[in-house]
């Protein structure tokens, strides 16, 4: 009973928070900064405490998995279709959900001061609590459909938080780019979910990954099927975790306020792709080709992030690429089947990177304090002599890194622009056809033009 209540609180508390914040905005009763921050922090704490109690009870009773079944949201028994609200608390989801709640708690406390009296304070907290709900639902989802629900919420809130300073064009354009990549990644996820649904007859992760608890579970589908589904899920994970070729959105996400940057490319959102791969780990191991693809993708992204990160000139971008480097190593670990190592790596990296992100705005102050304490200037002495000889390869590498591997240019010029141009051509064609048929409008336009000419000449 206690476990049931705790598990319920972990999920229901953030959902209630979203409803409360959303309805307050919709119905027009304005929550004060104080009450909003207090409610958010209390609910996050409540949820985190519930998750910790659940973990403690599971450890005490030697239970490695607890399933919270809230019944079937949609049930069409004749068609064998159901949409269950099942949440899975196991050795993977509990550490990740506790991490999410702790970091969200810290970041909400930080944001309360950072955005004090900002006109978008309430808006920030609305997006923030939607993000929190998305993270919690994705972490503890027991079915692939529930996981998709959380996944979508994280995507939307991330894009809107990147575009938080919405009176400027740059944040908005970057928010749209993040959203575009997320939408296509979500499409791959949805399709993978449906294929899995077909192959296993349901969306339950327990059904797909076998009855044993994580990480001992084993997938029940064939290697060839695992390869197809796994590749789709890899696309979804690559989009969310900014792996190559989708890495371009990560530095662009820095347009958002610091607290949101901390949760995206510092801590949680960027690890969500890796978490998805960890969750379906047994399926990945069904197909060696898939495993090697994951390792290769992780390796390429690591090389890319390492190279590009070295030439960044602002702290947030440097931290973003450092984050990406670690995430790609985590992806490689998952490819090698080192699931516990990957989980520990996620937790450690997310915590450390959040701290760095939150301290980023006061980096110079921290540096000066360090210099004051050690008693001398720690700056590197500038010399007029070049540190190394400039070879063509070095120049190319430098340009490649400065242009962030030309990834955005490739996606824009090879995919987005041709696609848009095709449909702009169709649009022009449709307009011309309608104009051709609209005789009366043409006559009227001609009459207006002749009148204008007459007036101008007179």
């Amino acid at each position: 009973m206690i476990m049931h209540v705790c598990a319920l609180l972990v999920v229901a508390a953030p959902a209630a928070l979203v409803l409360n914040t959303g309805l307050s905005l919709l119905l027009g009763y304005r929550l004060s900064e104080r009450s909003l921050a207090l409610t958010t922090q209390s609910i996050v704490s409540l949820s985190a405490i519930a998750a910790t109690i659940l973990l403690a009870m599971m450890l005490m009773t030697d239970q490695v998995q607890y399933t919270l079944d809230l019944g079937r949201w949609v049930d069409l028994p004749v068609e064998h279709f159901h949409f269950s609200f099942t949440f899975l608390f196991d050795r993977l989801s509990i550490p990740f959900v506790i991490l999410s709640l702790l970091l969200c708690g810290v970041i909400s406390a930080f944001a309360n001061r950072y955005l004090h009296r900002d006109e978008g304070y309430t808006r920030f907290f609305l997006f923030f609590v939607i993000f929190l709900l998305g993270m919690v639902v994705t972490s503890v989802a027991g079915t692939i459909e529930t996981m998709f629900l959380g996944w979508e919420l994280v995507g939307l809130s991330s894009a809107l938080l990147v575009a938080f300073f919405h009176n400027r064009i740059n944040p908005v354009a970057n928010g749209l780019r993040v959203w575009t990549i997320y939408r296509f990644a979500d499409g791959a996820f949805l399709f993978a979910a449906l294929v899995l649904h077909h192959l296993t007859g349901g969306g339950d992760l327990n059904l797909m990954m076998g009855p044993k608890p994580w990480p001992e579970n084993a997938c029940i589908i064939e290697p060839s099927q695992a390869l197809v589904v796994g590749l789709l899920l890899l696309v979804a994970a690559a989009g969310k975790s900014a792996l190559v070729p989708f890495s371009g959105w990560l530095p662009r996400a820095m347009e958002g306020p610091t607290p949101s940057s901390a949760i995206f490319y510092g801590a949680l959102s960027v690890h969500l792709g890796a978490y998805l791969l960890l969750r379906v780990g047994p399926m990945l191991e069904q197909s060696p080709a898939l495993q090697w693809t994951i390792i290769l993708l992780g390796g390429i992204t690591a090389l890319y992030a390492g190279l590009v990160g070295r030439v960044q000139t602002d702290v947030k971008s440097a931290l973003a690429f450092a984050s990406l480097l670690q995430v790609s190593i985590i992806v490689m670990e998952i490819g090698f089947g080192l699931r516990y190592l990957a989980l520990i790596h996620i937790i450690g990296h997310a915590s450390m990177r959040s701290l760095q992100m939150l301290r980023a705005p006061s980096l110079l102050r921290d540096h000066r304090r360090l210099e004051d304490n050690i008693g001398y200037s720690a700056r590197i002495k500038q010399t007029s002599e070049p540190a190394f000889e400039l070879t063509p390869l070095r120049t190319w590498r430098y340009r490649f890194a400065m242009e962030r591997g030309y990834l955005d240019t490739i996606l824009d010029e090879w995919i987005a622009t041709p696609f848009l141009n095709i449909f702009r051509w169709f649009d022009g064609l449709e307009r011309r056809l309608v104009k051709l048929l609209s005789v009366r409008d043409r006559r009227r336009a001609a009459m207006v033009a002749s009148k204008t000419d007459e007036m101008e000449s007179s």
Binding site: L25, L26, L27, G28, R72, W73, V74, D75, L76, V78, E79, F81, F83, E119, E145, L149, E152, L153, L156, A159, A163, H166, N167, R168, I169, V172, A173, G175, L176, W179, T180, R183, F184, D186, G187, L190, F191, L194, V195, H197, H198, F419, L420, I422, F423, R424, F426, D427, E430, L433, V434, L437, S438, V439, R440, D441, R442, R444
Partner: protein, 479 residues
Amino acid sequence: MNTQLHLPWLELSIACPVVAAILCWRLKNENAARSIALISCLFTLVLTLGEWFDFKSLGAFSARDRSSIVFLVFGTEYFVIDELTAPLLSKVALLFGLTIAATMQSKAGRFSVVRTLLAEAIILAVLSCSSPMLLCLLLALSTILPWHEMRLRGHDTSVFSICMSLHLGLMVVGTMLLWLGHDRPLLSNIAASLLVLSAMFRAGIFPGHFWIVDLFEKCTFGTAILYVAPMTGAYFIMRLVFPVVPIWALHGIAVLSLLTALYAAAMALVQIEARRFFAYLFISQSSLVLAGLELANPIGMTGALCIWLEIGLSLGGLALTLRAAEARIGRISLEQYHGLFDQMPHLGSLFLFTGLASIGFPGGLSFVGMELLVEGTVEVYPLVGTIIVLATAINGVALLRAYFRIFTGSRHVATVSIAARPAERVVTITVSLLILAVGIWPSGAIRSRYHATESLLEHREGARTVTSTKEEAINVTQP
């Protein structure tokens, strides 16, 4: 079909807007006319809700009015309510009421209350009509009002006239051939093909989609929304085309509808005018509904019926938001950023919420509906299902692009407040709460749509069995 409702709900709900239109006809005072229209819409909504609950209490597949005047005069049941139309009637009544309520006083001169009330009566009659001939007549009548408005505004009506003439002509010929050739398979097949073509024009399936974009450009936004949002084309398909057309033809239209959905989604992405963007978004989403309906499998059809129910409300809400923004700053170009959010946060939030709900985002009925639709499509055509996923992904990008262009990117400076008026706030809250309520507890709506699907499939099976028996009989008699 002897099941009778406890009151003549259907006829009352159709008569109510007609009476209100007559009352408003000669009124010079626009405010008084608007008040009468609002009261009428409220009554109509109550009546449609009454007929829905009454019908539910009967537990039948379809029912007709008690003490029906039409039945007494003509001796035939022309108006019936069934599982398919019961919620649609209330949705239409609500949409008309919300549109009139959200109309700004400054736009009262352009947006005719009388025409709107007549349109409401005709669309309610279309959705209640069971007779093919009367349905043809009502569909023809419904085209006159927007056509008349375009003429009054001095616009060219050629595109609308061509498409609607093709639709009506094919529909009339098809229905007559179907009636004449009930024992001649060749004639029946020709009739079915003509009806399919007619449906393509009415429902806006490529290449019959031109009129929708043209209508949005040339009519008032309110009239255009109210003409397309009830999706009478889909109803026409379910009533006249679905029962008689062979499965291969239905699947053919389903694939064409899916391609239209993808094409329209991509077109929505490149539009530089808000109205055209909305028109293509609507075409894309309604094509998905049609694709699901024509799959003729229970899961896909249930999903399509759910989306049909949802997009009327969510795309209606989205259109009302755009209309409210247009009423303040004129026609909206998507080439520049307008930055309206700070001035009208309520409308900005509703734009985003309703738009996301319409494309199957969590929080609306379409979320589950879309999943059912994809599942149903994958069952029939495994690879074609990817088109739905692609179309919704592109629609999502187009929607957020439009949101950013209209509500963000700069700061709109206005000398007077352009925030949402109380009536608009009521509309936004009503739409949002309804979408949320059905989205959070979708099981009731899905069960009801599943029952409707089962009944439609049974009806189709019955009709097809009769046709194939006749075909066999003719084959036997013709050596």
